[in-house]
């Protein structure tokens, strides 16, 4: 199944780039002019996100570089160990909603250290694949339209991340067994 999916994803963008303008032409759309017309807002949209991203990434960067994240990991690890989450993946779990790149770094480090086919390797692979960088998405999406008050969005995003974490531990144990 994976071969089909990966082939599909390789073709998806070229196919869109081919099919969309073709259909548009057939329906009498002035393709070049319409494309340029739509693309015009691209610059403004990207620039508008700058202050929001700066605010968020400064905080995340300070939090991480100062060692505060390690303190948080240490404080939380007894509680999370009690519910069956291995301490080794905790830095990843905390970093995942904050920074996609950093989380990927931690994930590859765990995979390198324990092996991709170990329980920890499989667990962290699943965790990496199954959720998104909540704070980045919230900041970027809300920032692009100038929304400053996120209401309950941060909470629902984090609850979703926690759920993914718990589901990953449970599913990886069920599918592959806890050993390995």
């Amino acid at each position: 199944m994976f071969e089909i999916l990966s082939e599909l994803s390789r073709w998806a963008i070229p196919a869109i780039l081919l099919v969309v303008p073709l259909i548009a032409v057939l329906r009498g759309v002035k393709v070049y002019e319409t494309f340029v017309d739509g693309a015009e807002a691209g610059f403004a949209t990207a620039v508008k996100t700058i202050p929001y991203l700066v605010a968020m990434l400064v905080a995340i960067s300070v939090f991480r570089a100062s060692g505060a994240m390690e303190v948080l990991v240490e404080v939380l690890s007894p509680a999370l160990n009690a519910v069956g989450l291995p301490a080794e993946v905790l830095p990843h779990a905390i970093m995942r909603p904050l920074s996609g790149g950093a989380a990927l770094g931690i994930a590859s480090d765990i995979i390198k250290t324990y092996g991709p086919d170990s329980f920890l390797g499989r667990l962290v692979s699943t965790m990496q694949g199954s959720c998104d960088t909540t704070f980045y998405v919230l900041t970027l999406y809300f920032g692009s339209v100038g929304v400053k008050k996120y209401r309950y969005s941060v909470i629902s995003g984090l609850v979703a991340d926690l759920t993914t974490l718990a589901a990953s531990v449970f599913i990886v144990q069920k599918v592959f067994g806890a050993g390995g």
Binding site: F2, S9, A12, I13, I16, L17, V20, I23, A24, T34, F35, D37, G38, A39, A41, G42, T45, A46, T49, V54, V58, A59, V62, F63, A65, S66, G67, S108, I111, P116, G121, S125, T126, Q128, S130, D132, T134, V137, L138, L140, Y141, F142, V145, G146, V147, K148, K149, Y150, R151, Y152, S153, I155, S156, G157, V159, A160, D161, T163, T164, S168
Partner: protein, 199 residues
């Protein structure tokens, strides 16, 4: 909430750095963070511009409306406050489809288009609308059918079966999406009733 998280990360970070006698780190980290934020935004200009152009073509050709029509029942349930023929529906459908296909760099610009349309319905206020919150809940619990990057890393470190985690990933994603939708509805209920009490 975002105010407290933001402040908390900075204050806690500075306290820890100070306690470790390593306060210079904070200055460097802050500027590094700002720097990478600008780099990300500048890097986004190219792909956002490209996808906004393609989106406009798809819209004019009637493709977005066709796709939105296909998944209308689900979208009506998830976003009752968005009129059924509003461009926001189409853009959200495109964003979620791009996520599902693992086209990370196509999903983001389409998400931004969706937000722009939702913001029109929100009449330009700086407070997130119900539909925006639901959309972001779905987005952050993100369905990815093909987690390509992590598969690449597994190949790199000699996994016997690099793609074996695809199944578990889809299951975990599906579960967290379902929870995200429920939590979104529950929090909306509490949030709205609290507001009506005038707090």
């Amino acid at each position: 909430m975002v105010n407290y998280v933001w402040l908390g990360m900075i204050v806690f970070g500075i306290i820890v750095a100070g306690a470790r006698g390593d306060i210079e780190t904070v200055t460097k980290a802050a500027l590094d963070g700002a720097n990478s934020a600008v780099k990300i935004s500048i890097g986004l200009i190219a792909i956002i511009t490209f996808w906004l152009g393609i989106m406009k073509l798809a819209e004019e050709a009637g493709l977005v409306r066709a796709l939105a029509w296909l998944v209308r029942p689900a979208m009506r349930f998830l976003f009752p406050s968005v009129p059924k023929d509003h461009p926001a529906m189409g853009a959200m459908v495109m964003n979620l489809s791009a996520n599902i296909l693992g086209l990370g760099n196509a999903a983001t610009p389409m998400g931004l288009i969706a937000m722009r349309e939702l913001q029109k319905l929100n009449q330009g206020r700086d407070v997130a609308s119900d539909a925006m919150c639901t959309f972001l809940a779905l987005n952050t619990s993100c369905v990815t059918l093909i987690p390509t990057t992590i598969i690449g890393i597994r190949v790199l470190y000699g996994s016997a079966d690099p793609t074996e985690i695809v199944g578990p990933t889809i299951m975990a994603t599906a579960f967290s999406m379902a929870v995200a939708v429920v939590v979104d509805r529950v929090l909306r209920f509490f949030y709205n009733s609290r507001q009506q009490q005038g707090r």
